[in-house]
């Protein structure tokens, strides 16, 4: 098909599909009139059952925990896939890291950017940590915390410290951390089986005060594991992509 034909065929078909979907949309209850019963049922029982005040985290890590196990493994698999696809191939070699680092030691913005980036590293790490460990009480959780934690590592890179970045995040370690993050989550579930409980059962003590950091049993533990896994995954995604800029085809540029 030529691009012109394609566009015409698509637009005609899309008009038909849109009409069909709109027909479906008009069968929905209007916006703001969610009928339930799933949400209200969760809202009614969640705080009592899990001691978590952040109901979304309770759903993610407890009621629909198995979805989140799958989700973590999707991220994990994608990073493994990236590593496989981008692994060094015959005829490619890496520029010496030192040489590369020298080039990158002077970030475009000069010392100001560098200092700012490094200065933000600590707070970013702290925020990430806090988010990952407060899933049960706040709009946060392992995922968001993990990404912010990964940002802390990336700030080190932005600060021109490429070698430090690579030393802080060698592939083997991030690999292992991801595996532990994703697998640990699944393993927490399996330990419940070993104890004769249903998979993913929240068997840790729920704590006394709803909303406290130590409350909500396995939710906090799982959120923490997810945080580790996600942080490692994003550090590795960035690391893989950065690494790519240093590969040189033998004989070529």
């Amino acid at each position: 098909m030529t691009p012109g034909q394609r566009r015409v065929i698509f637009l005609v078909a899309m008009a038909g599909l849109a009409a069909f979907v709109i027909w479906g949309i008009t069968g929905l209850p209007g916006f703001g009139r969610y009928p339930g019963p799933y949400g209200p049922a969760i809202l009614k029982v969640a705080e009592g059952q899990t001691n978590a005040t952040g109901i979304v985290s309770a759903v993610n890590f407890e009621y629909r925990g198995i979805d989140t196990v799958g989700e973590e493994f999707i991220l994990f698999t994608a990073v493994v896939g990236m590593t496989v696809v981008l692994r060094k191939l015959r005829g490619e070699r890496q520029r010496p890291a030192i040489e590369e680092a020298r080039e990158r030691a002077q970030p475009a913005g000069g010392t100001g950017v560098r200092a700012a980036a490094l200065a933000f590293t600590g707070p970013a790490a702290l925020i990430g940590w806090w988010l990952a460990t407060h899933a049960q009480t706040n709009p946060s959780g392992g995922f968001q915390g993990g990404v912010v934690l990964a940002t802390a590592f990336l700030l080190v890179y932005l600060g021109g410290e490429f070698l430090t970045f690579r030393r802080l995040s060698p592939v083997d370690i991030t690999d292992a951390a991801e595996a532990i993050g994703a697998g640990g989550f699944a393993a927490v579930g399996v330990t419940a089986i070993a104890a004769g409980l249903p998979y993913m059962d929240n068997y840790l003590p729920l704590g006394k005060v709803p909303g406290a950091v130590s409350s909500a049993g396995t939710i906090a533990l799982i959120s923490f594991l997810v945080g580790i896994g996600v942080a490692a995954a994003f550090v590795q995604i960035a690391g893989e992509l950065l690494e790519q800029t240093m590969l040189v085809r033998e004989g070529g540029g």
């Binding site: 952040g54 988010l131 709009p139 946060s140 968001q144 990336l154 960035a238 992509l241 790519q244």
Partner: protein
């Protein structure tokens, strides 16, 4: 009423943002549009009382994805 007016405005902005992201030419410009669109979505989710999703959309849609894409663009521009 206030909330609803705000939601309508942001929904219109988000719809325009999506159109813009698709229509813009040039890779880097498109990534910038995507980042802005991500922020728009985050605001929309906030008005829909979803702070968790807002935070996720901010860190992923507005920061992580553009970063991944920019690094990719940097890599594929190189040696051309």
């Amino acid at each position: 009423m206030m909330t609803q007016a705000l939601q309508v405005v942001i929904l219109v902005l988000v719809a325009l943002g999506a159109t813009l992201v698709v229509m813009v030419r040039g890779r880097v410009r498109q990534v910038v549009a995507l980042s802005a669109y991500g922020i728009g979505l985050a605001v929309l989710f906030f008005t829909m009382q979803a702070p968790d999703v807002t935070l996720s959309e901010l860190v992923v849609g507005a920061v992580a994805l553009p970063l991944i894409l920019l690094l990719t663009i940097a890599r594929v521009r190189w040696r051309r």
